[in-house]
Assembly symmetry: C2
Homo-oligomer: 220 residues x 2
């Protein structure tokens, strides 16, 4: 049975930004600060390191009741029995990923256009990571930002939940939620923060503020 | 049911060495020259490219009756229903790889020491890739060559078939077979060859010559 996932504050790992701290240490801080999803994303790591890091992360995410999702590597997700997989447009096609992980694991898909979003929904995605919203420092190969307008267009086009990604900080996170995104995904905002626990706490507060503003707007 | 595999001439892909030819073109030439196994090994390729290249390779290896084995990426192997997986010491641990691919797919493991070889055999390897035998140009991070003596020590220590790898050419392949290796694995010798078909044919002849010399020595 697939768990219902709280996508509010979705924290993605980066061992380079974590250094000299370990990835596990930063994730532990993020969990204390209220992260609701952890994604293991290490594009450059050898498979064995990813497997070992994934196993170490599960030992902290499972007790916290927070799902661990593996970026790109369906094999690593299966090997460690992670809670799900997230695939981008250069990764395993979503339909194949769904076939490999089965119906009960979480499948997330990156989309930057309405077409990609609708295809991912059709192919079995449980949620979408949509961006680059504001312009990201961590994916130098990304195209120009889609902005809040691009995000809103995709949210309105699909039935599955959308997480905004790309340059999101505690200061601009509320506006993402006001576009009816269910959450914010971040790398740098937590992994490059001197105090990742506090940074996550501020993101969570910003998500709450965004929700209250959005529901206020709807009530008026 | 796992097929019986002829490991005699085991050709590993390298799209950089293939250029300006395509990987599929070089593999087709190798198959005409008598390659008995093809391994898809593209450490730098995005997952989607590996999946697409793997599917394209299956369209030429299947009609030739030659197994296609995927290096490192169990997910890609599962996605394209390849014939097996080959894992190195930095890749998925062999026992986990075996669990993911099931009992009927081919599992190969790289080993450079007797300890690694015995562990791989215990963990479900069907064959070993052992080297670096002569010193390889394509894996700059490899340690010093283990030589023909190192190869022989491993062949004698295990019960599963061993393929030699590392700097093997048509001119030195016979000596590898004389150490009781069942085959030779090559990247450059075929992928960097101006005529990959002819290079493969010469490797195959060298393997045959090595077998005849080895059986002659045993008869004397």
């Amino acid at each position: 049975m697939k768990p219902k996932v709280d996508l509010s504050v979705y924290v993605i790992t980066d061992r380079k930004l974590a250094a000299p701290r370990s990835v596990v240490e930063v994730v532990q801080a993020a969990l204390r600060g209220g992260a609701t999803v952890i994604q293991l994303r290490e594009k450059e790591a050898p498979t064995r390191e990813m497997v070992e890091l994934g196993m170490a992360l599960l030992r902290v995410t499972r007790p916290a009741g927070v799902p661990l999702i593996v970026n790109d590597r369906v094999d690593v997700a299966l090997a460690i029995d992670a809670d799900g997989v997230h695939v981008g447009q250069d990764d395993m096609p979503a339909a194949l990923a769904r076939k490999l992980i089965g119906p009960d694991k979480i499948l997330g898909v990156s989309a930057e256009t309405v077409e990609q979003a609708l295809l991912a929904q059709r192919d079995g995605a449980d949620y979408l990571g949509v961006g680059d919203v504001y312009g990201t420092p961590t994916k130098p190969d990304a195209g120009p930002p889609i902005g809040l307008e691009g995000l809103r267009r995709i949210v309105e086009a699909v039935d599955i939940p959308v997480v905004g990604i790309g340059g999101i900080t505690p200061d601009n996170a509320a506006a993402v939620i006001e576009q009816s995104a269910v959450g914010v995904a971040v790398i740098s905002a937590v992994f490059a923060a001197p105090d990742p626990e506090e940074a996550t706490r501020r993101l969570r507060a910003a998500v709450e503020a965004g929700r209250q503003r959005a529901s206020g707007e709807r009530t008026l």
